[in-house]
Symmetry: C2
């Protein structure tokens, strides 16, 4: 009996944004590992069982999933959004590299999904319309000095910035400090988008200037997008503004 | 009669990676604008018509689509991947900003999709497992000096790099020059992934070192992912290697 492991992204939250490939991987699996709220979104059959764990236990969850797959089960590790973006795919790879040789022989399939920044960007217009980056603001896994250097480098180079994991109870000051750093690198009129729960019933998209960006607007479910020098806001009568980053910069050839 | 405009991402190419939301927007539309090969992927009804245009006519296509929507039609602009990543969403916003006031009153809905770098990353392991960026290598819309400065900034800052539009007949030398620049900034052992047509029957994923990266491996349908200092390769017996970027860096707290 040969086990297998799917690492699946279910998209930003709405079932309308989950791919058929993700649903097929879920249908083919029997044991599900993931953060409880992500597992809650699944409609499992009687022959499928779930093992929920906390948001900060990714490596232990990955090991448990690999051990279960190695025992011959069809296992699914579930991430919201895309599993390769600040989610379970890297944790599974870390566990495989550090684990027993048998884990390297397992069939492992990563199933991509619509990651949060794409869903938020779509709701706001086209803020990621030119070069952009995704940076996790969590300093649990890297020093804050690295995060600060990266923010300055990418803002200075003109990339739009999508911030994942912007704030939590255990990390209350990082987002405010990030805004303070970015106010040294970018015009204070730069558009900032707070995109919460994009595509879900409790969706909330707010657009402010970098000068007015208040960390209290964000929570753990928020993706924050900070424009570049080029990012623009189109006001529309009776409709939400469109925020976009033009495709061209400087002197096009 | 009020027109509306959908700007839809159909994902990397496999129907299994197209979201229900994208299919619903397509079903609700009557006139389709897009690059021919993207329109060819759709199964349209008799009451739906298509207007194909060339890959380099995004702004003209956006204007035509807006004009048609303003005339009262339900219009769909189709992109592969995600429409907000080097695709039609920004072109539509540019056209709205420069166009007649009536275009600002149109209902415009961007529908996100799985963008190429996520599909390629999933096939390779988890190369985007920590901070990363997406940079278009096309110097049609920005000067090459800007691209070079961005490559140096992001490589120096430790971000994984996904290159879109790496090469074309009209832009034959840019990818080789980008590799030469990155060899000055990164170890020559850094993993490089050439991901072509991820999720499609003609999919081809190749992993080489930065030292061995050959621009001739890429074509217009390729997304090239270049690792950071941290990116690792797990060799597996009888299976493709897993390329991943660990979630942590330096001294985790």
């Amino acid at each position: 009996m040969t086990g297998k492991l799917f690492v699946v992204g279910t998209g930003p939250g709405s079932p309308e944004q989950t791919t058929p490939e993700a649903l097929a991987a879920i249908a083919a699996s029997h044991v599900f590992f993931g953060y409880g709220p992500y597992l809650d979104r699944l409609s499992l059959r009687d022959d499928q069982r779930r093992v929920a764990s906390d948001n900060r236990e990714e490596l232990a969850r990955a090991k448990d999933a690999l051990m279960t797959a190695a025992s011959g089960e069809a296992v699914c590790v579930v991430s919201g959004g895309d599993p390769g973006v600040f989610a379970m795919a890297a944790a599974v790879c870390e566990a495989i590299e550090a684990g027993p040789p048998a884990w390297r022989a397992l069939e492992v399939t990563m199933v991509p999904g619509v990651t949060a920044m794409l869903a938020v960007a779509a709701r706001a217009g086209a803020p990621l319309g030119h070069d952009f980056c995704a940076i996790s603001l969590s300093d649990n896994l890297k020093p804050w000095t690295v995060i600060e250097a990266r923010l300055r480098a990418v803002a200075g180079a003109g990339l739009v910035i999508a911030l994942y994991n912007p704030i939590s109870k255990a990390r209350p000051w990082q987002l405010g400090t990030a805004f303070a750093i970015l106010r040294e690198e970018l015009p204070w009129t730069t558009p900032v988008i707070f995109g919460r729960a994009a595509g879900r019933p409790d969706e909330n998209i707010r657009v402010v200037s970098l000068a007015d960006a208040d960390p209290a607007t964000a929570d753990m479910a928020t993706c924050v997008i900070i424009g570049s020098h080029e990012t623009r806001v189109i006001e529309r009568p009776g409709l939400a503004p469109l925020v976009y980053s033009p495709r061209s910069i400087g002197e096009p050839k």
